[in-house]
């Protein structure tokens, strides 16, 4: 099926070359980082994780969110998602690859990365994160490829793949739970030491991931003959709505615990992020942008009449995605480090090389996604959907 990725129109190749050039620039930036050390980033002794780990955290959520289309389709036989599942699974593959790359570029000694396997350490959450992420990648490649291959041959998928699908459904929440445990089990970092961290992660993932999937489905529909289905998009919109509300509710719970208990350590990070602490307020505008986007998203999503308008749904999804991207891909990580264990404040802002490397990892993700979607759509365009489709192909 891979051969389908090398036949494409002008627009396809322009897009691929655009991504490749971003990857090239980022690769040069990475060589610079590799040569000079992580000092070329904005990270410090106090804020020792930054944009890279934030992006990793956010993208694990995107990867896990594939389950939001896989579960209704396979467990509840929700046929409307038939054409969306492959897009969800392939998005998960691209997201997991980005996660792994973000971990890799964050390492001080990347050439020693195999030490994690050579010296397996079951008491470290990082060890489990490696296991669940590689397992999830394997499952999605296996399932996506097999099901799509069967579809191309216009035969039902082989029976043996079903247990793997069930496993992948159970596996998806596990990757994000383990990622939350990276943070939630650390003593002395009050901002992260919260029992609902994993639940918050899952809620934001199941809002952010599907909102990206909606946007992708709309792009696919616009530029190809393949239509993932209007109703499928609407159902996803409903999922985004509920999960976004749950996510904001969970965030509210964190606020309540911190500010009603009035324990300084529990309040400090929130104060730093949303109003600034002791005159340090670099992240305040960014966090408020995230909050405003969340309000806009919810205002648009919560009314079915508005949500049914696809252009407004698209706006809501973009707002949801960026709101969560800021909140989880940036604020959550930095907030945990400010103030530091001495209750001093060191601020963090990514540097240019750091931003270029981040952009390059996203470009690699989108390149993988483009190629996988190209293959999936080429197969789908060849297959007639007359059973469930609203717009028939061929």
């Amino acid at each position: 099926m891979l051969e389908k990725a090398i036949y494409g129109g002008r627009r396809y190749w322009v897009w691929v070359c655009f991504l490749l050039s971003l990857i090239g620039i980022g690769f040069l930036a990475y060589l610079y980082q590799f040569q000079n050390g992580l000092g070329v980033t904005g990270m410090s002794r106090d804020v020792s994780w930054g944009l890279y780990i934030g992006q990793f955290t956010f993208l694990v959520g995107v990867a896990a969110s594939g389950v939001m289309v896989v579960l209704p389709y396979y467990l509840h036989n929700y046929k409307k998602f038939a054409r969306l599942t492959i897009l969800g699974e392939f998005l998960a593959i691209a997201a997991v690859i980005m996660c792994m790359l973000f971990i890799f570029v964050d390492l001080g000694q990347p050439l020693r990365v195999l030490n994690v396997i050579l010296h397996p350490t079951p008491n470290s959450v990082m060890f489990y994160d490696m296991l669940v992420l590689s397992g999830y990648l394997f499952l999605n490649v296996l399932i996506g490829w097999t099901v799509l291959g069967a579809e191309r041959k216009e035969v039902p998928p082989p029976k043996w793949v079903k247990p793997f699908i069930i496993l992948s459904i159970a596996w998806a929440p596990s990757i994000h739970t383990v990622t939350a445990f990276l943070y939630a089990g650390i003593p002395g970092r009050h901002f992260w030491l919260s029992a609902i961290m994993a639940a918050r992660f899952l809620a934001s993932a199941f809002a952010g991931g599907p909102s990206l999937l909606i946007i992708l489905a709309m792009i696919v529909r616009k530029y190809t003959k393949f239509d993932p289905g209007k109703e499928a998009i609407q159902t996803l919109g409903k999922i985004v709505t509920y999960c976004m509300l749950i996510n904001v509710f969970f965030l509210g719970l964190e606020f309540f615990t911190a500010f009603y208990s009035q324990i300084p350590g529990h309040m400090h990070s929130f104060v730093y992020l949303y109003t600034g602490l002791h005159g340090h307020s670099q992240l305040v505008p960014v966090m408020w942008l995230s909050s405003i986007l969340a309000v806009i998203a919810i205002a648009l999503l919560v009314f079915p009449q508005i949500r049914k308008n696809e252009s407004l749904l698209a706006v809501a999804c973009v707002a949801t995605f960026f709101s969560l991207w800021i909140d989880k891909g940036f604020g959550l990580v930095i907030g945990g480090f400010v103030p530091n264990p001495f209750e001093k404040i060191t601020e963090y802002w990514p540097t240019l090389p750091e931003a270029l490397i981040t952009l390059a990892v996203w470009s690699i993700g989108f390149l993988v996604l483009t190629i996988l979607y190209k293959i999936a759509i080429s197969v789908k365009e060849d297959v007639v959907f007359d059973k469930y489709g609203e717009r028939q192909i061929k």
């Binding site: 050390g37 410090s44 002794r45 020792s48 390492l107 020693r112 350490t121 002395g188 350590g265 001495f342």
Partner: protein, 271 residues
């Protein structure tokens, strides 16, 4: 036996997967055995659990504590990074009361306590979170004497330990530290580090093995000898009821940093 290409690739693939898994399994077993010297130096200082008491009455000004810092940083080739405070490497350094013991501030506490230079170093916790989170056991707790050790050759530089340490005791080499080491003060017997690894106080395990006390403790003794007082840093075995450390703990009121986190810090402060 004949096999076609497909079968060969299958077997080759499967055996390489098993091979990697096997290596992981064997090394998991291997890791349960601690590295040890073949014959121990009979003069080596040993303990079941090393601990330190910092007597703040002996640390009034910079001339009291700076020799301890200098001795440590010189003994371990700790780079002196001044161009960017974000990249600082510190093994032992002073903090004021409010920063050393956050959450215990009191605006009415006597001024002299507020500005005391509390010496910060790795607490060599009984239950160290940094060891718990390290994915490669590059940082580990030595079973014989409780020192939280660093294997800078194994460290992958993920900095999980820095997030895990509630005492801010760990530093990461954000750049090559070697140009920042004063050549004239270099200790050729202790390795310098490369960029991309985490480091911290290791309670001078290399000096203990030679029968010497930690560099900071030795420096504190020298300062005390000059002034004709008792030293400000006292070092000993926490599990030995007759050790000097235990004697002090049974007589004086001491505090530890963030004991409520359950880490069991081994550094005590007398105020």
């Amino acid at each position: 036996m004949s096999m076609n290409r497909r079968e060969f690739i299958k077997i080759a693939g499967l055996s390489s997967i098993l091979g990697i898994g096997g290596v992981a399994g064997v090394s998991a077993l291997k890791n349960s055995v601690e590295a040890s010297q073949t014959s121990k130096n009979p003069e080596a200082l040993t303990a079941k659990r090393w601990a330190m008491v910092v007597d703040m009455s002996k640390f009034a000004s910079e001339e009291d504590f700076q020799p301890c810092i200098d001795a440590c940083h010189r003994a371990h080739n700790v780079p002196h990074i001044t161009d960017n405070p974000k990249h600082e490497i510190k093994w032992i350094w002073p903090e004021t009361y409010e920063h050393a013991f956050p959450g215990n501030e009191d605006e009415y506490r006597a001024e002299k306590y507020q500005h005391m230079p509390f010496l910060m170093l790795c607490n060599h916790c009984e239950n160290p979170p940094c060891v718990r989170v390290c994915p490669t056991q590059a940082t580990f707790k030595r079973k014989s004497d409780g020192i939280v050790m660093m294997d800078m050759h194994r460290c992958i530089g993920c900095r999980f330990c820095m997030a895990g340490c509630p005492y801010g005791a760990r530093s990461f080499n954000y750049k090559n530290p070697r140009p920042f080491i004063d050549e004239s003060k270099k200790n050729p017997e202790f390795p310098t580090r490369m960029k991309g690894v985490v480091e911290k106080c290791t309670l001078c395990y290399e000096r203990l093995a030679k029968g010497l006390e930690p560099a900071c403790v030795e420096a504190a003794k020298e300062v005390a000898a000059k002034k004709g007082t008792t030293p400000g840093l006292i070092f000993g075995d926490l599990e030995d009821p007759n050790s000097e450390v235990r004697k002090i703990l049974s007589e004086r009121f001491t505090i530890r940093r963030k004991p409520e986190l359950g880490t069991g810090p081994s550094v005590y402060y007398i105020i």
